[in-house]
């Protein structure tokens, strides 16, 4: 294949994937508004477009399948067939199959895919024979939306990110023309507002900017040192000015580069209408998914990490939250349940919430379960607040579902959700009201690459603690540290706080024997504990560099989230707070 054709094929794959993904949403809309001819025409056009280009590329199976779907869609458009959930199912199946076929092209997999039975189904519909309504098989569902949502989210993001000029919506970007040839278009400056850039190139720029910032930090420190030494030297004053200018520019450059990596959460949200539809249908539930703030932009790396937790939360809402229509009727609730998925930006964070108007979490059940599982004693259980009880659903292996359903095994899911979010410095908050519904609120940093840290020192080495986890730092005397069952604790304003010594975390024996320590109070999984260090160094914005392989501490466990280089040019390891919490004996860490 010539390189030009190869390039066209690559474009075809990317563009077709985008089209197919956008289709899912259209189908859900179509079910709500079956007579919407514009919508049908849009779907028709999409399939038609794919067919046209596939023909040139000799992708015969794609041509055949899109051709058969197109015929059905055409009849729908022209009113020769009336839409029904059964027809929509078959067309959805075709769209899924097209995705598989495109995938095969992408992976250069030449084995033919079985499309004959699907072609027959489409043909029958086209001829006016509605397929017998067969409910979606449960096991089909199980492997379908989840695996797809996850892999697609990652796959696609890895491949191509769109760089969008700040005032343009991503939609326009995706449709923007591709031009790489040396043609003249000097007289048409308004056309080329967007280009596609390989994510790898973008990452390279991003990394280089990171290096630049580190270099700038060193220069600033050095010029400050010189300024202290030779305060009146005109050259030093000039150097200082130059360093300050560089500081300004590099900060702006950093922001600008960060912006190129921002993508709307729509990229993830897009998949949910289809998932909710399929699951609701297989569960005999009526659910309306309302999406808000899908244009909210967030760093690509965050996008990659929020798909899984959201899938879990939404599945839970469908499976455990929303009641079946009959039950809702009895409760005087509208038979159609609501799930509201919304995103918004709050300062340097993105806040995503999943709200359902279902039955809420049965806290009494949680209380009972907590006792059954031996997590708390019956006496303690009585004293637990609602907030404390809700936290138990994030406990590993905790499930209040009477039976484990195919949709969400529950229990397995929620602690994983929490762990995954914690890995990207995110937190989750639960609000539930029995009979009224549940709201999960996720808070995430806009970017994962640059973080604020508290620099601390132990045994003359500096380490960084992500500031998002830090609540406060206090100075304590050695005598204030006591030990309960081998777990060191301090009393902070009357409350017991378990502590771990950073020197031990890293694997040294007790540190230099100083009389006093600083304890950095941190929070992880909504639990608090303290990290004892020798000295506080200061606060610094650092660019996280991932560590090749795993750097482990002397005790063989990985407690580092990454590394960074300081203004002095020193490498500083960044402490992974969730990992550090493992060093606290279970049950000792305080719930907040």
């Amino acid at each position: 294949m010539s390189s030009e054709m190869d390039e066209i094929l690559q474009d075809f794959i990317v563009e077709t994937e985008e089209i197919l993904e956008a289709l899912d949403e259209k189908f859900v809309e179509l079910e709500k508004d079956q007579s919407n001819k514009d919508l049908i025409n849009e779907i028709f056009r999409a399939v038609h477009t794919i067919k046209g280009a596939a023909g040139f590329l000799g992708l015969n199976q794609i041509v055949d399948l899109s051709h058969a779907s197109e015929n059905v869609l055409k009849k729908l458009r022209d009113g020769l067939l009336s839409p029904s959930p059964e027809i929509t199912d078959v067309i959805l199946e075709s769209v899924d199959k097209l995705k598989i076929l495109v995938d095969k092209v992408k992976n250069n997999d030449k084995t033919p895919e079985d499309i004959d039975s699907l072609l027959t189904k489409l043909k029958k519909i086209e001829e006016g024979q509605t397929p017998i309504s067969e409910p979606i098989k449960k096991d089909e569902i199980k492997e379908d939306p989840e695996s797809k949502v996850e892999s697609e989210a990652q796959r696609e993001d890895k491949k191509v990110a769109s760089v969008v000029s700040s005032n343009q919506k991503i939609d326009t970007a995706l449709k923007a023309p591709l031009k790489q040839d040396t043609e003249e278009h000097k007289d048409k400056p308004q056309v080329e507002k967007t280009i596609r850039v390989d994510v790898e190139r973008l990452d390279t720029v991003f990394n280089l900017v990171g290096e630049l910032v580190l270099g700038k930090n060193r220069l600033t420190k050095l010029s400050n040192v010189l300024a202290d030494k030779y305060p009146n030297d005109p050259d030093v004053i000039n150097l200082n000015e130059a360093a300050e200018f560089l500081q300004l520019i590099s900060t702006e450059l950093q922001t600008a580069v960060m912006k190129t990596r921002m993508q709307p959460v729509k990229k993830v949200f897009n998949r949910f209408p289809r998932m909710v539809r399929d699951l609701a249908r297989s569960h005999g539930k009526e659910i309306e998914l309302i999406i808000r703030g899908e244009e909210t932009e967030v760093d690509k790396s965050v996008i990659e990490n929020i798909a899984d937790p959201l899938v879990h939360l939404i599945r839970n809402a469908i499976d455990h939250g929303i009641e079946p229509p009959e039950e809702r009727k009895k409760l005087n609730k509208p038979t159609t349940g609501k799930i509201i998925l919304s995103a918004s930006q709050e300062g340097n964070n993105i806040v995503i919430s999943v709200l359902d108007d279902g039955r809420g979490i049965n806290l009494e059940k949680v209380r009972k379960k907590a006792v059954e599982k031996g997590i708390v004693s019956p006496e303690e259980a009585e004293l637990l607040s609602e907030r404390e009880l809700t936290e138990f659903i994030f406990h590993p292996g905790f499930s209040t579902a009477d039976k484990v359903t195919d949709v969400s095994g529950r229990g397995v899911g929620m602690d994983v959700v929490k762990t995954n979010l914690a890995r990207i410095n995110g937190s989750i908050d639960t609000l539930t009201q029995q009979g009224r519904g549940t709201k999960f609120t996720i808070k995430l940093p806009l970017t994962l690459a640059i973080i604020q840290t508290l620099m601390v020192e132990v045994n003359n080495m500096v380490y960084a603690i992500p500031i998002t986890s830090v609540l406060e730092a206090v100075r304590i005397d050695n005598s204030e540290i006591s030990s309960v069952d081998g777990q060191e604790i301090i009393k902070l304003r009357g409350e017991i706080l378990p502590i771990v010594r950073l020197s031990e975390l890293i694997g040294f024996n007790h540190s230099n024997g100083a009389d006093s320590h600083y304890v950095v109070v941190v929070q992880s999984y909504d639990r608090r504990f303290g990290i004892a260090v020798d000295r506080l160094v200061g606060q610094d914005e650092v660019v996280i560099k991932s560590i090749e392989g795993n750097i482990i501490n002397l005790n063989d466990s990985n407690i580092f989230a990454g590394a960074t280089i300081t203004g002095e040019g020193k490498v500083v390891l960044i402490i992974d707070i969730p990992a550090a919490m493992e060093f606290i004996k279970q049950g000792e860490a305080q719930y907040v």
């Binding site: 030009e4 054709m5 390039e7 066209i8 474009d11 075809f12 563009e15 077709t16 849009e42 056009r45 038609h48 477009t49 067919k51 046209g52 280009a53 023909g55 040139f56 051709h67 197109e70 015929n71 055409k74 449709k175 923007a176 023309p177 591709l178 031009k179 043609e183 278009h185 007289d187 048409k188």
Partner: protein, 129 residues
Amino acid sequence: MFDSGIKILVVDDFATMRKIVKNVLQQLGFTNIEEAENGEEALKKLRSDKFDFVVSDWNMPVKDGLEMLKEIRADSNLKSTPVLMVTAEAEKSKVIEAIKAGVNNYIVKPFTAETMKQKIEQIYERLKN
């Protein structure tokens, strides 16, 4: 024969398809090619710049190929611009509509460079007579 220096506008909403058409045209020696992603954008370009030839898709959002064609023919400055319509097999029956609206020729997807060449030659042949 035709002049390979002519300026061509390729109209299609699917970027891959524009690339394919452009690629075919380049194989035929054309170098001066611009793109538009729908009829609306194409008309804007046609009105602000001089194009010698238009290759357009039929089914597009905002403004489809047929509507664009009708507007081209109704515009005194543009009405003589040759338009080649790219159609799919399924749209063949509608071609008569396009011919009535004044399309110069049509080509059915998928096509080869050779077919494209013939179609363009036919257009210029007819225009000569």
